[in-house]
Amino acid sequence: MPNPDIQHDSNGALKHFLTIEGLSRETIYDILDVANNFFNFGQREIKKVPLLRGKTVVNLFFEDSTRTRTTFEIAAKRLSADVININVPRSSVSKGETMLDTIRTLEAMHTDMFVVRHTSSGAAHLIAQHVPEHVRIINAGDGRHSHPTQAMLDMFTIRQYKGDFTPLRVAIVGDILHSRVARSQIHALKILGAAEVRVIAPRTLLPTGIESLGVTPFTDMREGLDDIDVVIMLRLQLERMEGQLVASEQEYFSHYGLTEEKLGYAKPDAVVMHPGPMNRGLEITSSVADSDKSLILPQVTNGIAVRMAIMARIMGGSSEGAGQ
């Protein structure tokens, strides 16, 4: 995997946001605290602040996305940045331009920040290594590797509903193998000191050596959900599957689809999350997704405040503190 340290500058300040690995607990909490301030903006007449006024943010998506791209766009606009959205499947890359040439072309237009999603693991890291000193990169999902802003908004949501992380038992359920979200969530939960992190999936969707991340694997929902505070369901990424990883959708649903009955194995006050988009009736039933235990829509709302906080954090000057 790429070296995560390029996201800090020589003074240790956060410069890019590429992966959760290597972030301190303090940095994560600082970002969540700033996000909490932005979250309270709902009551204001004018929901914008001038922090990124005059800056240009390019959302560069080499892979489709609705909620991530939209919430990044709203977040940047609330910070007063100018935002350009580029969906690459429809632009020059289909004419043969390389990713780095695309970046250099956009850089030449004085872009200050790129929000990058790419199907290849390590794409955002590679870009971060090739941009000038003043340009910032945010990873909006790279292959199976990492989706750090999603993990941050999930941590924000968990803290909002559950408070302290240290007593929490969290289960991540489903297609762990293809999930960049799961990897980033696991790193974040470990850094924040969650009591236990479990992954629940059929063996074919559990990456080998997943235990080395400090999680306990389960293949049975009843055992895996026992005593759980937070259930995070993942989308079955059928489009990424090569070969027969699940026997059939019906069989997957009967074993791993989150129904009210299976949710009953978890603690009575357990909450349910899903990064979206959901396959209703495959990994989760509508009765659970739309229940009062579901935090799926709050996750989307929180994505705006958390992405504002991350952008503000990496765009600000790097010296310590602020004076009188």
């Binding site: 300040a13 600082d30 605290d33 700033v34 909490n36 301030n37 309270n40 204001r44 007449e45 004018i46 914008k48 602040v49 001038p50 922090l51 503000a312 954090r313 765009m315 600000g316 000057g317 790097s318 010296s319 310590e320 503190g321 602020a322 004076g323 009188q324």
Partner: protein, 166 residues
């Protein structure tokens, strides 16, 4: 100037209270700027006996030095519990120095609506203005050198001290 010649914060506050009393009505809003201005605003809000709820502002998102120094690590929440449209606002800060904090605070207030009138009351007004900002009520004027720094510590007790910058 040294600490010995400074009046106590309580003494300054009672002068300010007398000056403020005829300027505010029961409908006036008091808004303090974090952190020192909020401490001062809490004391004045109590002694003036206003029925409106006290407001507080953290101006971190409006600072003009963000691109140089970044966000303050401990940003507090701004809290304006009353509708500010057409209201009479008394903005409170501890030290008026360059005027940049007040510029930022006014920008933030206007993000919440259009106040009827905004005035400024400060515990200490010192030399060194960099923007055309004046206070309507000043507790204490201080003529200070550029390398001197006045700081309010608190909230209990509230104390003013003057130090030299290293």
């Amino acid at each position: 100037m040294n600490n010995g010649s400074l009046p106590t914060v309580d003494e300054i506050l009672s002068t300010m209270e007398q000056e403020l009393r005829p300027m505010v009505s029961t409908d006036s809003l008091i808004i303090g700027v974090h952190s020192g201005g909020v401490w001062i605003a809490e004391r004045l809000h109590q002694s003036l006996g206003l029925s409106t709820k006290l407001g507080s502002l953290d101006i971190s998102f409006y600072r003009d030095d963000f691109s140089r120094v970044g966000l303050h690590p401990q940003v507090k929440s701004s809290h304006l519990p009353e509708v500010i449209d057409d209201r009479d606002i008394m903005l409170i800060d501890d030290v008026l120095h360059t005027g940049r904090t007040i510029r930022a605070a006014m920008n933030e207030i206007f993000s919440y609506g259009r106040p009827g009138k905004v005035r400024l009351a400060v515990l200490v007004e010192r030399s060194g203005r960099e923007l055309p900002v004046q206070a309507d009520v000043v507790g204490q004027h201080l003529q200070m050198r550029d390398d001197e720094y006045v700081k309010l510590t608190g909230p209990d007790p509230l104390e003013l001290s003057i130090t030299k910058k290293n």
